[in-house]
Symmetry: C3
Subunit: 140 residues, 3 copies
């Protein structure tokens, strides 16, 4: 969420923004439905254990068996703060470039068709090329 | 702690330093005492569940039900390393600008009067403006 | 792992890379064997509780009592992704400068002889000096 809030803010201020998603960050980009793809046994297990999509993600602290995330969502609605799926939608509308890390996808056994539309796919060299030219560059 | 150590080091070397506190980071800035303010029911619960002030915070790993944090504090005292409340005091004395994220405060139901004195209050746009001009910019 | 993948990628692209290891990050640099050094009681306890060396580290999420890390290692082998000890070896071969934070070593009671060879030892001022001149600078 912090990543999308900062990215959307920067895009709204007219900056070019690129987001590079690795490992657990990819879970935010998974489609909510179960997509049938061929995986090795262990990749399949990873796929089952990990949250599928932005609405299923917990929060980084204060989780209390999911209660923290539910409370957070309720308070955010009351305070008119946008939720993660809305933040992703805004990022798309603002033409933020979202890149999924292909090495992370290989390790975790996530296929392109399991992720939401409109992503690009690239490796760490692409990230470094972008970071080299960027004014602000965060690891979140 | 890492944030304050780096910030104080940079200020001591003559750099202008701005710290921007979001979500759980705000807990380090809460006054230790219970301040009576009006909150919604869920905001009140968040307020009760979250640690109040720099002395109550755990450490990010090796917590062991609080034992890790207690050990860490003892070893730090033995090694003459400054504690978090001392680090915050030093940051104030070095005129480090500390900004509390107003959106995070809304979501978590934290009011200005619950936080220590000498803070500024602003949103993500202010952070991005500062980050854009900064030489070094970290998400911790 | 993310730190070493990004560092090795940048070095391979011809950049000068410096890595600065603090607190838990130092565990990745510990020699696997038990080195006898004089420590205070609490430092000794920290030393026993913390993982010794790159092969013993868990992963930041999905740990499941170590099962996550074992699965991750197996999948990484199947996908020909390099493991952490291999990544450290590559970093050394690419002349990446690896600096251990001396204040963190004091607090955690880690001595120079307990860490792998080829490291430099310095404090936060050295880190800030390098960060100030760097193009890309991440806190991971």
């Amino acid at each position: 969420m912090a990543a999308f809030i900062i990215a959307n803010g920067a895009a709204a201020m007219g900056d070019d923004v690129t987001m590079f998603f690795t490992f657990w960050g990819l879970n935010a980009l998974r489609k909510p439905e179960n997509i049938k793809v061929k995986k090795s046994f262990l990749q399949g297990m990873f796929g089952k254990m990990m949250p599928r999509g932005a609405d299923k993600l917990g929060i980084s602290k204060m989780n209390f068996g999911g209660m923290g995330a539910a409370m957070m969502k309720t308070v955010m609605k009351q305070q008119n703060v946008t939720t993660l799926p809305e933040l992703i939608q805004t990022a798309k509308e603002q033409d933020i470039k979202m890149i999924a890390c292909t090495m992370s996808m290989d390790v975790m056994g996530i296929r392109e068709e399991e992720l939401i539309d409109g992503l690009e796919f690239a490796g760490v060299a692409t990230y470094l090329g972008e970071a080299d030219e960027a004014n602000v560059n965060l690891f979140i």
